[in-house]
């Protein structure tokens, strides 16, 4: 059967669709052929799949072939059986007949003959050529067709259908399609069953020696082909899958080792998508196929079906695994295969898969998940090809062009070298090429990294190529090899590529890297004698590869560095783009980095920087610092070349903020120097930069700084510098953020001067201006270095920045500063509330009471009000004030303050007033103190005595003096407390006089009552009276009996002194000496404590001894009124109404003024004689007066003329009040008589109750 392989192959290629045979009984085919073919393919066909389930196949093409056609006729029965899939699936019998007899006699027997073959699925198409207008004929045809149906159709199956050529046929075509489908389905079922049967039989014999894979293959593929023809691709695919499984089992069977294949020309190009690339007859071997070709063939068939099923992603995924597993198989046979065939095959396979899947895939058709998976697979294929391509490139000496990145190192250094049985040897005429290669090796200097970073390049090779290649050379005995490399540590460690030409070997072994003389052509004559040099290995590999590679594109890509790089870039870009579209973002970004490296090499810094930035962001975002440290310097260099100052500085700062172990101190210093240099260079614009990762800050440990409202302060902030060296900051400022109010940006505090940050911990002092009340946390540290404006958000918890989370800005929650709400910080109060002596130097006490606030260095401004002056000649005494009746807690506090070393045990001193202010001493800063200020209240007024006639008008304000105090305190005297303290000054006595007795001899006893007004004992030493005109002293010469003195007057008590006086009979001539009023002089002493009230005047204290002490003299004017001797006018108070006075009730008060005698005298001449000026005086608190209070009334000059002055009054208060008084200001008191005299007091009744607004209470 295997012999039929070739035939099978041709049969398979020649037929590609289901065939329906047409038995043209009545020569109708030429007429209907066009119509039949028009209605192709079958729109909807229900077929049965392998698992006997109905499947809907759409657009199934069917080919109609006449049974008389050569294609069907010429087959022998065996052929038919073998290639059954190409036999017709249905037989359509075309008949026509218009005559019933003819049908019965001729046609029917013939038809019976045709359809008697059971194996065929058949049906009859009756074609009616009769025109519908021809009734006769139509009838007849109908009869014939009816007969036909009766004869050939059965109840089970309709086998007839009728085509009217001239009539409407819509129904017919549906019917035809159904019938064909039915036939196909039946045939298909039968054939599948048959094949499956056969296959089962063969499978059972599988482990018998006669078993032949080729037979199995033909059957299996036939079945697959049947399915494929019927568009049952899924089933066909399954057949191929089973076939592959079976093949892999047989191929791996022990004892059946066969030739692998892969030696044909162009075998290096993968044919895994080209099923017909090699005829199967070529790859057949004994009873099976060569693995190399056959597996590719199977995969090609599978992928063809998958593409038909529109599953390119599955092609990718199967393809990737296929490539991997096939590469393994190639590895097993590597020693016999051409040099690097595996690598080349993988590259071509990947590229072929990529092309095919890309062309079959259309975006958006499949689910996003599958699409992403497809892109990922594409990426995988690209990277696989990329790795293999790099490997080839390395083998022929392009290793220097490959970036030694972690990605490339991971790919290449874990990929073993090719292991040919014999390493290709140098072709004899390659000396010039070797020279050239050597030159490039020598020229290739490894690029030194920016900042002078020195890293051992990552390896790109799994082991030293030089050694591997030489070991595999047939001519060289392996024994020599270790000798060659002994002591050459460079080889075991890394890049053999770079180490070899430069590490001169001191050994006598003819080490090829030794000198250039070895490269002289003469030595090439016997290259087999000695180990090959690297350049020779490259050249040899290149030559060998040229033999292996048949693909022109690949050959070209490896022909020069530029081409290599071009291809390399293409592959990398392809991989990156596809990964970016898939889930595997990291892969994509990392590959971007590889593209960037190439761009970088060619000076396309902007492109490179873009990609590098992405890579850095990826690594930084996930804190892969080791990897970041590899890429970041490259980015920095790009940015430097692009003059991207901000980016460059940012990169330097990021470099600095990486783990310290990743860079040497020298390198870190280089970063810092770059930053500083750049910052101070002439950049156009200031560059803002976030250095949160490098400079962190925290408040001082311990409780937050507490400040009172309005106080400035100093804030200590710990700043951690990650710079390796000291760095000078032009400025440094800090913002505070209020915790209660996040809207405001916070206030910036500036550090005083240029700051030098040492590496590590620094304590920076910030001056804190007064802040609003609230608590504050640290916000942002900003600063400036040259043109660099940096800011840091990073808060460290009292340690250096944790490199682990250098991207996470943790907001400090602990307040650093608390500013309390405004409160009283100090209190100033008057120490004494009782009255002091007026016109005497008195101590006024001011208590200064700090309330939990230091008054250190406080300044008190003292500004006395009018009528008060400070006695400058005396110092201001300040002493500790201990409140006697304060509670126990407070006194304890005082004690503790005393104990503290801050306040020395000093508690009094004398301060001098300077420009109206005094400065507090240290000791007084925390304790309550009292200031004794010597003052003198000035009053020009003479004290006036009062009598029942002229009562004393008490004016509280008269003795009141004020002292305005302003205390400036706090750290910067920013706190100001102002208070005006009132002090009450008074005369020592209130004097009241009355005449207690009038003696017959004209002597009057004048009682002078002294009412002490101060809160201290007054000692009256002496009292005398200076009398006014009209009065003379009695016997005692104006003094009371001296034995009474000293008279002690207790506080608030009264004492009285009695004088005897008499009226002066004769008016004294020396009128000038006479006083207008009498003066009472009292000489007294005062013994008092200034803490209690009035006290000895300040100057008295200082006057020295007791004997010299000055007695105080109090003078008070007393009005003595002489009786009216010469009355001219009389004023009579008229009777008040009898019903009494009531509050609020209007009354009329009347006075009668009567002239007693005619007016004459000098003073009267000037005035109008017929008018009298009057004035009504009433206490406005008691009376409301309506009417003219003061005015002229006419009163004739004649004696006895009289006038009544009346005025309306309303009493305002109830009780005994003084009624309004009428006085005549223009008339001397002595000329006015009161008759009848007005009452001293009148009774005013309270107002009547008003019930208008009262609500009765129940």
């Amino acid at each position: 059967m295997a012999n039929y392989l070739a035939q099978f192959q041709t049969v398979k290629t020649s037929c590609d669709r289901i065939v329906a045979a047409v038995e043209d009984v009545s020569d109708l085919w030429p007429t209907v052929k066009g119509l039949f073919e028009e209605h192709q393919p079958l729109k909807r066909a229900f077929l049965t799949n392998r698992t006997r389930n109905p499947v809907l196949v759409e657009n199934l093409p069917v080919e109609f072939i006449l049974t008389t056609d050569a294609r069907l006729r010429s087959r022998s029965p065996q052929e038919q059986y073998l290639f059954w899939f190409r036999e017709p699936y249905a037989t359509i019998v075309l008949v026509t007949c218009e005559d019933l007899d003819e049908f019965k006699n001729i046609l029917k027997p013939r038809l019976k003959l045709i359809v008697q073959n059971d194996e065929r699925e058949w049906f009859i198409v009756f074609v009616s050529k009769v025109h519908p207008s021809n009734d006769q004929a139509t009838k007849s045809v109908k009869k014939v067709y009816a007969k036909l149906e009766v004869d050939f159709s059965s109840k089970k199956r309709e086998r007839c259908c009728k085509l009217d050529i001239h009539g409407p046929n819509a129904h017919f075509w549906e019917d035809l399609e159904l019938k064909i489908t039915e036939c196909i389905r039946n045939t298909l079922d039968r054939r599948v069953l048959f094949y499956e049967d056969e296959i089962r039989k063969l499978t059972e014999q599988r482990f018998m020696p006669i078993w032949n894979f080729c037979n199995f293959f033909i059957l299996k593929e036939s079945l697959a082909f049947i399915f494929e023809m019927a568009h049952l691709h899924e089933d066909a695919l399954r057949e191929y899958d089973e076939l592959e499984l079976c093949y892999l089992e047989t191929v791996n069977m022990l004892g059946k080792q066969r030739e692998f294949g892969g030696f044909d020309s162009e075998d290096d190009q993968a044919t895994l998508l080209k099923p017909g690339s090699k005829p199967l007859t070529q790859i057949v071997q004994d009873d099976s196929f060569r693995e190399f070709d056959f597996r590719q063939y199977l995969f090609a068939c599978q992928s063809r079906l998958l593409f038909k099923l529109n599953r390119p992603s599955e092609v990718s995924s199967r393809g990737y695994s296929f490539v991997i597993s096939f590469a393994k198989a190639l590895t097993l046979h590597e020693s016999v295969l051409p040099f690097c065939l595996r690598e080349v095959w993988v590259i071509t396979a990947c590229l072929a898969l990529l092309d095919a899947t890309a062309s079959h895939h259309h975006d958006g058709i499949v689910a996003p998940n599958i699409e992403k998976e497809l892109y990922r697979l594409q990426g995988d294929l690209y990277s696989l090809a990329r790795v293999k391509f790099m490997r080839l490139g390395y083998l022929i000496g392009y290793g220097t062009d490959i970036e030694k990145s972690p990605l490339n190192s991971a790919c290449l250094s874990m990929l073993p070298w090719p292991k040919p049985a014999v390493w290709p040897s140098l072709p004899p005429d390659a000396s010039s090429e070797v020279l050239e290669k050597e030159k490039t090796i020598l020229q290739a200097t490894s690029r030194t990294k920016h900042f002078g970073i020195q890293r051992k390049p990552l390896p790109l090779e799994p082991s030293v190529l030089l050694r591997v290649a030489n070991r595999r050379r047939a001519s060289l005995s392996t024994g020599n090899i270790p000798e060659i490399f002994d002591g050459r540590t460079g080889f075991t460690e890394g890049s053999g590529l770079e180490a070899s030409p430069r590490t001169p070997s001191s050994r006598k072994v003819q080490a090829p890297p030794m000198s250039r003389t070895n490269s002289s052509p003469g030595n090439f004559e016997s290259p087999l004698d000695r180990p090959m040099r690297l350049a020779e290995i490259f050249v040899a590999a290149e030559h060998a590869l040229r033999l292996t590679i048949s693909d022109h594109d690949l050959l070209k890509a490896l022909s020069s560095t530029q081409d290599f790089e071009h291809k390399y870039l293409n592959l990398t870009k392809g991989a990156a783009e596809n990964y970016h579209r898939s889930w595997w973002k990291r892969h994509g970004v990392v590959l971007d980095g590889e593209i960037a490296a190439v761009c970088f090499k060619h000076g396309k810094y902007d492109l490179a920087a873009n990609s590098y930035e992405k890579v850095c962001a990826l690594y930084a975002g996930e804190r892969w610092q080791d990897l970041l440290a590899e890429v970041l310097p490259n980015l920095a260099e790009c940015q430097k070349n692009l003059n991207d100052h901000a980016g460059y500085m940012s990169s330097c700062v990021r470099l600095l903020s990486l783990d310290k172990g990743l860079f040497s101190p020298k390198e870190r210093q280089a970063f810092q120097i770059e930053v500083v240099n750049l910052a101070h260079s002439e950049m156009e614009n200031p560059v803002p930069l976030d250095v949160s990762s490098l400079i962190t800050f925290s408040g001082s440990t311990g409780p937050p700084l507490q400040l009172c409202d309005g106080d400035p302060g100093t804030l200590l902030v710990t700043v951690w510098s990650g710079f390796p060296d000291d760095i000078t900051l032009d400025s440094l400022s800090l913002t505070l953020v209020a915790t209660n109010n996040t809207d405001e940006g916070g206030q910036a505090l500036k550090s005083s001067a240029a700051t030098v940050l040492k590496p590590g911990r620094n304590t920076i002092t910030f001056d804190l201006p007064p802040q609003k009340p609230g608590s504050y946390v640290l916000g942002v540290v900003t600063g400036q270095i040259g043109r660099l404006r940096f800011r840091s958000h990073s808060f460290s918890k009292g340690g250096p920045a944790d490199t682990d989370d250098f991207m996470s800005y943790e907001k400090p929650t602990r307040p650093i500063l608390k500013v309390s709400k405004p409160r009283a910080l100090v209190d100033l109060a008057s120490a004494v509330s009782s009255a002091l002596l007026i016109n005497e130097a008195q101590w006024i006490g001011i208590i200064v009471h700090p309330i939990n606030y230091s008054l250190k260095g406080a300044i008190l401004h003292i500004d006395t009000g009018p009528g008060l002056k400070i006695e400058d000649s005396y110092g201001i005494e300040m002493e500790r004030y201990v409140e006697i009746d304060c509670d126990a807690g407070a006194s304890k506090a005082e004690v503790s303050v005393e104990d503290s070393p801050v306040s020395p045990k000093q508690d009094s001193e004398v301060l001098n007033l300077c420009d109206g202010k005094i400065v507090f001493s240290e000791w007084a800063s925390n304790v309550s103190s009292i200031l004794w200020v010597p003052v003198r209240a000035l009053s020009e007024k003479l004290a006036r005595g009062s009598s029942s006639v002229t009562p004393l008008k008490q004016d509280i304000l008269e003795g009141m003096r004020t002292v305005a105090l302003k205390l400036e305190f706090g750290m910067h005297h920013n706190q100001i407390f102002e208070r005006t303290v009132a002090a009450h000054f008074t005369d020592p006595f209130d004097v009241t006089t009355r005449v207690v007795n009038k003696c017959n001899d004209g002597t009057m006893v004048l009682q002078v009552m002294l009412h002490s007004l101060v809160k201290v004992n007054l000692i009256v030493l002496d009292a005398w009276l200076d009398l006014q005109e009209g009065f003379v002293h009695g016997k005692s010469e104006g003094r009371p009996t001296s034995t009474f003195f000293p008279l002690v007057v207790s506080p608030g008590s009264r004492a009285a002194v009695v004088f005897s006086i008499s009226l002066e009979k004769t008016m004294s001539s020396g009128k000038d000496l006479q006083l207008p009023e009498s003066i009472l002089n009292i000489k007294y002493e005062i013994n008092g404590d200034r803490a209690a009230g009035a006290h000895k005047p300040v100057d008295a204290d200082h006057s020295g001894s007791d004997s010299e002490r000055r007695a105080l003299v109090f003078k008070s004017a007393i009005v003595l009124q002489r009786p009216v001797l010469d009355p001219c006018l009389t004023v009579g108070f008229l009777q008040l109404p009898s019903d009494g006075l009531r509050v609020g009730k209007l009354i009329t008060i009347q006075w009668r003024v009567e002239r007693l005698k005619e007016l004459k005298g000098s003073e009267a001449v000037e005035q109008q004689h017929d008018e009298v000026l009057y004035e009504v005086n009433a206490n406005s608190e008691n009376w409301m007066i309506a009417g003219r209070k003061r005015g002229h009334v006419s009163l004739s000059e004649e004696k006895g003329s009289r006038v009544v002055i009346s005025i309306l009054c309303v009493p305002l208060v109830a009780g005994y009040v003084r009624p309004p008084q009428l006085s005549l200001p223009n008339v001397e008191e002595e000329n006015v008589r009161s008759n009848p005299p007005g009452p001293h007091l009148v009774c005013v009744l309270p107002p009547l109750l008003s019930s208008s607004y009262c609500v009765p209470v129940k």
Partner: protein, 140 residues
């Protein structure tokens, strides 16, 4: 031979990475581990696609690479263990038991009250026990 083991935090940040190769090429292993996070992400985000149920910590083979294999393991706390081996014939059961031991060592290390969760593991004991576990497994 196991060439590298790594612990990766739930934010995909490396917590511990240790390579067991002679040459100074740890960086390439960093790269392999880092890139394998792509696979873990994909599996975790598309649980329906991967065969393993989410209840299982062992993620199986992440990479069908040519010359090394990467295995993953995901703890309940979303900490990933990644192991790179250069052996190509590895049985899943061996890897499973390796990860179980590794997980136990990890739990011991992070149970240290002085260890800050989410920070790099610096414990020397952990490093030693990891070395022990690694040396006890050679899959061939």
């Amino acid at each position: 031979m196991i060439v590298c083991v790594a612990v990766v935090g739930h934010q995909n940040n490396p917590l511990y990475i240790q390579s067991f190769t002679e040459a100074e090429d740890a960086l390439k292993l960093h790269h392999i581990v880092h890139c394998s996070l792509d696979v873990i992400d994909e599996r975790v985000n598309n649980p329906s696609k991967s065969g393993t149920t989410m209840n299982e910590a062992f993620l199986g083979l992440l990479y069908p690479a040519l010359n090394y294999k990467v295995y993953g393991y995901l703890t309940n706390t979303k900490v990933k263990f990644i192991m790179v081996t250069s052996d190509l014939d590895v049985r899943d059961t061996d890897v499973r038991s390796f990860f179980r031991k590794f997980h136990a060592a990890y739990v011991d290390a992070v149970s240290n009250p002085f260890h800050v969760p989410g920070k790099k593991i610096t414990s020397r004991t952990f490093s030693e026990s990891v070395t022990n576990i690694v040396s006890s497994y050679s899959f061939n």
